[in-house]
């Protein structure tokens, strides 16, 4: 193990698609209980980074660990210990809430009783109670997004990957969503989240700003603002974008 203390630790991670380099020599660490934000414009390499860490994509070079396992070798072992929520709603729309969580929970080897108990607990916490028998295609976007989150943490992963979890959700819902993420992290789960909403970046413990696959800035929101002599993360982002032109 490169670094047992870290929930996620990557060194010189690179992904090339033909001649195009989507992620270029990126290194960072995430500790337990930390909310780590990947910030960047579309095409900056955020999703590709997450997909490599979640075992969906093979890195071209570089090394790293997730939940203590090597991302190049033990990616199937990593899968048991992570939760993943993609940009697109990816639960079965023709199934009810209960059928969905029973299926995905069952995949992780949870019993029906465990699934029910854990979901009830999460549901009461994040406002999903009483929806068990509803089909997911009939639910509003904010509810669907929270449901996908509940589904991703049902098996109590060590690391949670959220790829633009709040896209297409109204500001109040986004606010509630971040409260939930905060409480999840407080329980010790490491959270890696990508976003392009600048206000959301303020909720993260640490940030990494990416541009054209490269790391252009890193630090806590406060440190970044100090570093760039600005008063908001939005300005940090703008100056990283402008500075490179």
């Amino acid at each position: 193990m490169i670094s047992g203390d870290y929930a996620v630790s990557v060194e010189r991670l690179t992904k090339r698609f033909g001649r195009f380099t989507a992620v270029d020599n990126v290194s960072f660490d995430i500790v337990r209980g930390e909310i780590f934000g990947l910030l960047g414009a579309n095409g900056a390499g955020k999703t590709t980074t997450i997909r490599m860490l979640a075992g969906l994509l093979k890195p071209s070079s570089g090394r790293g660990t997730v939940a203590g396992f090597d991302i190049n070798r033990d990616y199937e072992k990593i899968k048991r210990r992570i939760g993943y929520m993609s940009q697109k709603f990816s639960l079965y729309e023709d199934l009810t809430v209960y059928e969905n969580i029973r299926f995905f929970g069952g995949v992780y080897g949870l019993t029906g009783k465990q699934i029910r108990e854990r979901f009830e607990e999460i549901a009461s916490h994040i406002g999903l109670s009483g929806l068990m028998e509803r089909r997911t295609d009939g639910l509003p976007p904010g509810i669907r997004q929270r449901l996908a989150l509940a589904n991703a943490i049902l098996h109590r992963p060590l690391v949670l990957f959220l790829d633009e979890p709040t896209s297409g959700v109204d500001p109040i819902m986004r606010r509630q969503f971040w409260d939930i993420i905060n409480s999840i992290a407080a329980d010790g789960m490491a959270v890696l989240v990508t976003t392009h909403y600048m206000d959301e970046a303020e909720y993260c413990n640490n940030l990494m700003v990416m541009r054209d696959g490269k790391k252009v800035a890193t630090g806590s929101p406060g440190e970044l603002k100090k570093q760039f002599h600005v008063s908001s993360i939005e300005e940090v982002f703008v100056s990283t974008e402008m500075g490179k032109r």
């Binding site: 969906l56 093979k58 899968k79 993943y84 639960l91 079965y92 299926f103 995905f104 995949v107």
Partner: protein
């Protein structure tokens, strides 16, 4: 094992929640069965036949008599004709004509050879060749009677057709329909079910779970194999009870053959899902496979009549082996010995395509 059962349960819920899917699985086969059983018939019945009798003798009337009173021909006798028979056939007034020459009786009595002309409308080659064989049969049996001293007015013509004496095409068709049905339910639906998950994004969610590739493949294929066997059972029951298709061979062997055939098709379904990105692509790819399989299966056109190079292509067609073995089993009642080469071919095709598909089915992309 539990993970697999969990997957299969989810798959069944999805299939039965989709009304169209249920219709495809249980109603379409029955519709196909009835359409192909009744409409697409290669049976030859009630063919309009002109009997042109230029001799008008006792002999010629006797020959006419042997064409009468059967379900194969509607006979219309003509004693004199104003225009050539060909023209009547071209106008569609008859599909076939038997012309007896002027010196028919005299020729027979003298022991000279007499000719009987048979004209057929060859537009539908199938119908006309069957009609021709009937005509030849009636004429031959007439000739036999003459040869025995013209005593046997009571002798009925004996048509010597084995295994499907009624030439009921539905008997011949049903094994084929079942083959097509199994192809749709296994190859097409499995391919579609996997590609649908890719399209919806749920496939990515599956890929980040600890499910192993074989569990995903088994979870996606077993439900459709089960449904296909159930649909086959329904088709067989209708075939036997309604169309009176005989089952002369072992039903166990029949199911075994279907099982081998299903494996080959499921392999193809997975293969299609690995090359198609959308349900449309999957549908078109399956369709392309199916058309070739059906045309080159011997269902409608005998493989023996195809050019040699086409016959070589049929070597890899699973539908050909299934239909051939199913027909042999149901109609001829042959044993395992006879259909073993077909089963072997199905297993070899099935295992190779399945192995290829599974190797192409990755959970992680490079």
């Amino acid at each position: 094992m539990n993970a697999l059962l969990n997957f299969i349960r989810k798959e069944f819920i999805q299939v039965f929640r989709d009304r169209n899917m249920v219709r495809i699985i249980f109603v379409v086969p029955l519709v196909q069965l009835f359409i192909l059983g009744y409409a697409v018939t290669t049976d030859v019945r009630n063919v309009d036949l002109l009997f042109v009798d230029r001799d008008d003798s006792q002999m010629s009337r006797e020959l006419l008599g042997s064409f009468m009173n059967n379900e194969y021909f509607n006979v219309k006798a003509l004693y004199q004709y104003a225009e050539p028979v060909e023209r009547l056939i071209r106008r569609g007034e008859a599909k076939a004509a038997v012309v007896v020459g002027r010196n028919f009786e005299r020729g027979l009595e003298k022991g000279e050879g007499v000719g009987i002309q048979v004209l057929l409308d060859g537009e539908n080659s199938n119908t006309s060749s069957v009609a021709l064989s009937y005509c030849v049969g009636y004429i031959n049996s007439f000739a036999h009677r003459i040869a025995r001293g013209r005593t046997a007015h009571v002798v009925n013509p004996v048509m010597n057709i084995r295994y499907n004496p009624e030439l009921e095409s539905v008997y011949f068709m049903i094994p084929g329909i079942i083959g097509v049905l199994l192809t749709v339910l296994t190859m097409l639906l499995t391919g579609l079910a996997i590609v649908k998950e890719k399209e919806k994004g749920t496939f990515e969610q599956l890929m980040v779970t600890p499910l192993k590739p074989w569990q995903i493949i088994a979870g996606k294929t077993i439900p459709f194999a089960v449904l296909a066997l159930v649909a086959m059972g329904i088709a067989m029951i209708v075939g036997v009870l309604w169309f009176k298709v005989p089952i002369r061979g072992s039903i166990v062997l029949f199911v075994l053959g279907a099982f081998c055939f299903i494996i080959a098709n499921l392999g193809l379904g997975i293969f299609i899902s690995t090359i198609a990105g959308t349900q449309q692509q999957a549908l078109f790819t399956s369709w392309a496979f199916m058309v070739v399989f059906i045309l080159l299966s011997g269902l409608f056109f005998p493989i023996e009549n195809m050019p040699h190079w086409v016959q070589y292509i049929t070597v890899v067609n699973p539908l050909k082996y299934f239909i051939r073995s199913a027909r042999d089993l149901l109609l001829k009642g042959v044993g395992l010995q006879t259909i073993l080469p077909d089963l072997e071919a199905l297993v070899i095709i099935g295992i190779s395509i399945f192995a290829t598909s599974v190797m192409r089915f990755h959970k992680r992309l490079t």
